[in-house]
Amino acid sequence: MHGLRLARWVAAVPMAALALATIYPLVFTVNVAMKTRRDYVLDRFSPAGSLRWDNLAEAWASAGMARYFVNSSVVVAVAVALLLLLGSMAGFALSRLRFRGSSVIFLGCLAGLFIPFQVIMVPLTRIMADTGLVDTYPGLILAYVAQFLPFTVFLMTSHYRTIPAEIVDAARIDGNTTYGVYRRIMLPLGVPALLSVGILDALFCWNDVLISLLVMPSPEHRTLMIGVNSLRGQYSDDIPTFASGVLIAAIPVLMIYLFLQRRIADGVTAGSTKG
């Protein structure tokens, strides 16, 4: 490969520019969130000078972000816990137990993976309305579980397939029932995969717009993402407070990213190498 060294350095320039273009929008938003309204109108680009938390406090308290934050946290926590429980149960059965219909069930889960929410949103909303689940926490939790369960089952199944069948057999010889094997062997051995899948599920649920828009119409039930969008109209003449709201919604995700980046990447790539 002639000139590879040169090509590397030439490529480094646009790549650095792209990295800047990736980071700058967030830096700009943080900076705006720290400014006073007056500063923003006068010069939106200059550094804010000092860290001011007034806008964040305003967005958190007066604009109702606190309420939306709690709504989102509760729904996401319960939904992810359910996803991991149901996903690991089904993943264990589909990978390490033999029973009639298991391959049909696995194919069914796989099919569920390829049905986007947009395609089923009308009948799903109708089912939810008929069963009185619209605008309730259980309704939104159930909608999230249904949306991300095929993905969770699929990844847990492929993870459990990497665990040798001999381990399961040995546990049975030791006198465990199937449930015992699940609780004492598969659940602990599944922890790495459960973490990766759980983080991805949490991100998906936390970031969702369309499902919560449909299932939770009333203002006091808004999730954080819908709440942020509603700030837009409310604070159209107070951009720093709006930017603060955006920041509040992004902070948990940024934290997860900073500490668990490798796990997120593992989850994303699992489908490409195992599928």
């Binding site: 273009a21 149901l86 137990l97 033999r98 369960l149 970031n207 837009r232 490409s272 190498t273």
Partner: protein, 328 residues
């Protein structure tokens, strides 16, 4: 050990020697077999255990994903409003065909398909250079991936600020002497702007998938290319692309699905389908017809069309890429 501790469960290791009797009872290989004496309660519980474990997941997936798909297709052949529930044949589909908004949204799908190779090539090229250890490659990997974890609402809100008429992007353009652009207000530009923001937000995902593909790449092939004096372009074309066919295929399909199903948040926050309906996509159309216009049956017809479009595009891509892979 609870009840039902009968011999079938005690099995020899796969490599060990098994006597004929155990072999007969063993049934399928490689899995736990839950057949003990059907009379004992414990054995019955064991036999049912797999079904108990999959039941909640199966109920939810069938009830809230597969069944709604059938229901939706059925629903698309009935009427709205006063005709609610009455079969109307294909009239919803005919109405869709006549609706300029829906036609725009399908046209935009075509645009996305055309832009797809670019959306795949950018992360592919970046991954190549990161794999070749461009100065600073470790930093780039983490920086590029970070927008991928942000919600479309956050991304859209940030870019509403960035792309404002007197926002940073136009300020940069002004500094180099180009006039300000009305990024989200010009019907000829808005769709490209939204797609650009979507690519900004998601190319990190594809990049990470590409890098995982590179890690399976046979390094000796690259060394051979280097010894033979192949240029970088030829190396990419003749060594890297053929070895990564499966990864490229995966990225093509997932990027397409992403473009067709995860731009709602951006449209919702950035354009609301406008200006002049120019940024409509089928998913936005479906939501609009169902939620705002109270036309669920029409929305169902649009859903069915979207599903068919996705199936066709997905299968077409796979077959085209397979053929391309075989030629190499």
């Amino acid at each position: 050990m609870p009840i039902g501790s009968s011999s079938p469960r005690v099995r020899p290791a796969r490599s060990g020697q098994a006597d004929a009797a155990t072999m007969k009872q063993r049934g399928h290989r490689g899995g736990v077999h839950a057949t003990a004496r059907p009379t004992s309660r414990g054995a019955r519980a064991e036999r049912l255990a797999p079904y108990v474990l999959v039941a909640p997941a199966v109920l939810i997936i069938v009830g809230l994903r597969l069944w709604p798909l059938v229901l939706g297709v059925d629903f698309s052949f009935t009427g709205d409003g006063e005709l609610n529930g009455t079969p109307v044949g294909a009239s919803n589909y005919l109405e869709l065909l006549g609706d300029p908004l829906f036609r725009t949204s399908l046209g935009n799908v075509g645009l996305l398909v055309l832009l797809l190779p670019i959306a795949v090539a950018i992360p592919g090229l970046l991954a190549t250079f990161i794999y070749l250890r461009v100065p600073g490659h470790r930093v780039y990997r983490s920086v590029y991936f970070f927008p991928a974890v942000l919600s479309p609402v956050i991304v859209g809100a940030i870019f509403n600020l960035m792309l404002g008429f007197d926002g940073p992007v136009n300020a940069v353009l002004g500094a180099i002497g180009a006039g300000p652009v009305d990024w989200l207000g010009d019907p000829g530009i808005a769709m490209f702007t939204v797609v650009g923001v979507h690519v900004w937000a998601t190319f990190g995902m594809a990049l990470v998938v590409f890098l995982a593909g590179f890690s399976t790449l046979d390094a000796s092939l690259l060394d051979a290319a280097r010894v033979d004096g192949a240029s970088l372009g030829r190396t990419i074309w003749h060594v890297i692309i053929p070895s990564l066919t499966r990864t490229i295929q995966f990225v093509f399909v997932t990027t397409m699905i992403g473009m067709l199903t995860s731009m709602f948040g951006l449209l919702f926050v950035m354009t609301g389908g406008g200006p002049e309906g120019s940024t409509y996509l089928p998913e936005y159309y479906i939501w609009h017809q169902q939620g705002q216009m109270n036309r669920p049956a029409l929305a169902s017809a649009a859903s069915t069309v979207l599903f068919v479009v996705m199936l066709v595009v997905g299968l077409l891509q796979i077959s085209v890429l397979r053929r391309a892979g075989r030629q190499d």
